[in-house]
Symmetry: C2
Subunit: 392 residues, 2 copies
């Protein structure tokens, strides 16, 4: 890529919505890579040369054709809420910003057709109001992230305790993709072919339309449960995950002192050493849920959103879970980062305890329950006190 290439590409795309202001171009070249001290050191300087925000698939094709012709790299970006630098231009060039392609195209029983730049919360708002449905799963950045970014960069999230991961059969129905080549092609992927582009960060095609399955939208009751011990919490979460008739959307587990140190509005309601479980339960499953909880002397409901009784309400319980846990910890303590772990197999709870025992004080267990083709597993998003890169 030479300055001449860049100038030619810019000129060829000048009739589209572009941005060359260095400050805003730099802002649009960054995501939440700073979750990682390793990536922070390596990616902080990156910036694109300019930003293009296409309004139609035809404009996407035009951008890709021009960029290919002039050998200019293209980095696709939704809202930039990923944690791994997936939306950052490693070699400058164009950031392809999808904010202008945000229409909810159609809502049908069990599915929605939507453009990639639509925010997750706007997908849900549209499917709720038009049909009483909502997305099966979303990232904890629901309020700010896009559906395109979720499909291209995410793996699962709130809802995965019932529906499994995004990659599992049935959790994405169809992706429409534009290729980057001399003459870009428009391809429709379903079934086995979906894996070519989902979770590929736009590196092998730009998603221009997404068809996702929907589930019924309920007024989920958000719940916090405190348990005497961490093993009480993991057993609670594992067993609850196995209750197929008890409809839920979130089961997050937090070892002490995560709640006590990082969840300011929850901290006054737990004792030192207590673990916390964050939950979303269907309203018509609350009787079943309270029955389940009453069987466990070590567990106590401390918050339910349908009967608020705290002076300061905690806000959405899902905004304590998944990657928001690390975000909350980072706000309090800049040395925190996290590591993704998968605890599976019949002894998955024992594996968690082995890791707990190995890194006392350095690693704090944060677990998210997922269905994994039958058995429940924990996705670990362990909070880690960063010491050195080698140690990490």
């Amino acid at each position: 890529m030479t300055p001449a290439n860049l100038s030619a590409a810019k000129a060829a795309l000048s009739h589209l919505e572009t941005d060359e202001n260095p400050v805003s171009v730099r802002a649009k070249s960054r995501d939440f890579f700073w979750y990682s001290p390793v990536l922070k050191a390596r990616l902080d300087h990156l910036t694109a040369d300019f930003v293009v925000a296409p309004k139609t698939e035809a404009e996407v094709i035009e951008v890709l054709r021009v960029a290919y012709a002039h050998d200019v790299p293209v980095t696709t970006r939704g809202a930039g809420t990923g944690n791994y630098g997936q939306a950052m231009p490693l070699a400058g060039g164009i950031v392809l910003h999808m904010k202008n392609m945000a229409a909810v195209v159609a809502v049908h029983p069990g599915r929605v057709i939507v453009q990639p730049g639509c925010l997750l919360k706007d997908v849900d708002a549209a499917t709720r109001s038009r049909s009483g449905q909502e997305l099966r799963m979303f990232s904890s950045t629901w309020a700010t992230a896009t559906i395109g970014g979720f499909v291209a960069g995410g793996s699962g999230g709130v809802g995965s305790c019932t529906w499994g991961a995004l990659r599992d059969l049935g959790n994405i129905i169809r992706l429409r993709v534009v290729t980057m080549e001399a003459e870009p092609r428009v391809l429709e992927f379903t079934g086995e072919e979906l894996h070519r582009v989902s979770h590929a960060y736009g590196t092998n095609g730009i998603i221009t339309e997404i068809e996702m399955p929907l589930a019924p939208a309920y007024d989920w009751v958000e719940v916090f449960v405190a348990t005497h011990s961490f093993p009480d919490a993991t057993a609670f979460a594992a067993d609850l995950g196995r209750e197929d008739g008890l409809l839920k959307k979130l089961i997050s587990v937090y070892e002490a002192p995560i709640t006590q140190t990082y969840f300011q509005r929850v901290a006054p309601h737990v004792s030192p050493g207590q673990a916390l479980i964050g939950l979303m339960i269907a309203p018509h499953a609350m009787d079943a849920f309270l029955t389940f909880t009453a069987r466990r002397p070590g567990a106590r409901v401390i918050w339910r959103s349908d009967r608020p009784d705290w002076d300061r309400e905690p806000g959405p319980v899902f905004e304590y879970g998944w990657n928001h846990t690390t975000l909350r910890a980072l706000k309090v303590d800049r040395v925190i980062t996290y590591l993704r772990v998968r605890y599976a197999g019949h002894d998955f709870i024992d594996k968690v305890e082995t890791i707990r025992a190995a890194f006392p004080g350095e690693v704090m267990q944060h677990l998210e329950e997922m269905q994994e083709n039958g058995p429940v597993v924990f996705a670990g998003l362990s909070l880690v006190r960063f010491i050195t890169e080698a140690r990490l």
Copy 2:
């Protein structure tokens, strides 16, 4: 119970809807007990003295008060589609027929409130038309059985491959019950208390109102898959049951020669020795389902209800499953009965093979997949060639 008691009870209830015609009283005293050659020999002679069909809960209370006062037994009955004589009067007296209490009282997001005499198909019709919802599960006698009979006598059915058994937490929300004592009480049961009356055949209280969870109603695609071998079929069923993102309502497995001998409209489409799988798949999961199937060289879709291509359509696929399998076999071969088996544990497929090997020609495997608090299991409703009671 003396004739004097009976006469007094009859007189006291004569203002209600009663039936004393011996022919119709006998008909209303029978269920599908004749599935079992053992029960057929033992229960065939049973009949009540008269039938009362209350129209309101107040009338139920009146019947129970009068029956208690005169020491007359009461046997509650929905549509009489049970297979175990649960609705048959072992000692005469009154059959309490619930057909007049069949109102769908209210439909809310995720739940329905209904009277016990409502047919399962009428519950679904009402919840579909009012709200786009349907029952999570139903017996294969959906078209003729009542919701009260299902809750009081059933254990699960079509839908259990996703939602588990009726007894599992969350699959019944609330039961309203009238007790039989000098002054009958009206009790509301939820949570742990539900087990006092669900699956108790009305023996310790008469259900007068039922609150059940609902799921979204889809235009389920009904599918038959033929497999080369029976192990191909069990592996297919087990793995499909574990696909949490692939929404389904039925997974039935039939060993050869069940299809070849008893399923007349399906038989022309399978080869000798092939096993059959009956399925209900959500329309928006069909891409995922066909992807799943394409991974298995031993499996082939031979029927899908959304693309009918047989000269004679097979009718609802669920009417081949659960207790309808035995019914179809009985129509062809009067020596058939069935045994309920549960195949669970990590080696549940091996257990099926052990039983297969032990009773060649005598026992034919019919399996229904269920979720069982996490793992999938098979409910076996094995077809058995009845030889003697001792052998059975």
